[in-house]
Subunit: 223 residues, 2 copies
């Protein structure tokens, strides 16, 4: 069970590490972090460095591909080296997945055309520009083994579902217990539909690190 | 607002990265990953390498200390270099916190004696051996700014609470929206009290990477 997670400068660390902590527990699994070259990739904040264990060319196949997102995605939506690699790996996978704006890389690689998919709430219009049909669910499964997750932390939920599909429900429940994933967020502000206008205004006033500026019309319309 | 996260070989990556993704959004914050020496630390699985930006000696103070856990904790509960550093940093912090078995390092440093605290469900007896009073809550706040979180994923909940205490509720709600933390785990198996016997048996049959072998009596007694 080979799990491959591509990383790049400007990725969001939790997009990758959330699913990693679940999928690494799959029996006889091996996890590979692939990048342009082995060595450190720096996250969206510029403070966290995660080591790529392999270059893209070192990795020819995978059972599970997990593509994280982050502001760095913008620099790669026309990066044919990465997109071609994603297409080639996808041809070998059972599950091709994304977290957050990682879906834009799947879209740019041509894998989401006509499919239902999800992404970070700020990137809905960008996702639909690749022919995907945005679906406001946390995890969206499609024929062909393509699974997309919403923003950042949703990768944990997605990975637990993948674990169930791969190793069965008891194993997946055991993994949930081991990471003690019994979420008790102190507020109920985790989706665009639920968040207060004050919280949205706070974000609107912050400097942006991504080209996905204003919330897309389809997110704005959710009150 | 300086946030310091110590890491070490055998740490659990999500313990560190979950809180990181929230706390890095605090206004004018800087996050430092400290270790025995700058450079990579390898996680509990041996597949993920996270870069320490500083050595312990490079870091003399912090506003927030977040100590992650993981199987590697066992190698450090008598590591006076690390424990003395934790004590010295704690003397400068507003918030001294832990995720998962990171609480055992706070305990070994003498910071939890007589306090209520939490930890991973497998490490309850070890926590109490340091004079702490185990409290089966996901996040436990104590006088003196000491906050402990339960296993692995609970660090996200803790960090949102810290963000509220530091930057106010609207900011914390905005951070929750930005990481789209609207958890929808596919099962309800995230705590020892809720998990099925089958899931516990599955874990019991797996090879262990930690000295915290069997569930402690206090966890076993929860059905």
């Amino acid at each position: 069970m080979r799990i491959v997670i591509p990383i790049f400068d400007g990725f969001t660390a939790l997009d990758a590490v959330g699913p990693y902590e679940v999928l690494r527990m799959l029996p006889e699994s091996d996890v590979v972090f692939a990048a342009g070259a082995p060595g450190p990739c720096t996250d969206s904040q510029g403070r966290l460095g995660l080591l790529a264990t392999h270059s893209f060319e070192d990795v020819a196949e995978a059972d599970v591909l997990v593509v994280p997102g982050g502001p760095g995605v913008d620099a790669h939506t026309a990066d044919e080296r990465l997109l071609d690699w994603i297409r080639r790996i996808h041809a070998t996978t059972t599950w091709t997945t994304s977290v957050c704006t990682g879906s834009l890389l799947l879209g740019a690689a041509g894998l989401l055309d006509g499919l239902e998919a999800t992404t970070h709430w700020r990137a809905v219009d960008a996702l639909e520009s690749y022919g995907a049909v945005y679906t406001a669910r946390r995890v969206v499964e499609q024929p062909g083994g393509i699974v997309t997750a919403a923003g950042v932390s949703s990768g944990i939920d997605m990975a637990l579902r993948l674990a169930e599909l791969i190793a069965g429900r008891v194993a997946a429940e055991a993994f949930q217990l081991l990471i003690e994933y019994d979420p008790q967020p102190p507020f109920d502000s985790g989706s665009y539909a639920k968040a207060s206008q004050e919280a949205k205004d706070y974000l609107a006033a912050r400097p942006r690190r991504t080209a996905h500026g204003a919330p897309p019309a389809s997110a704005r319309s959710v009150k």
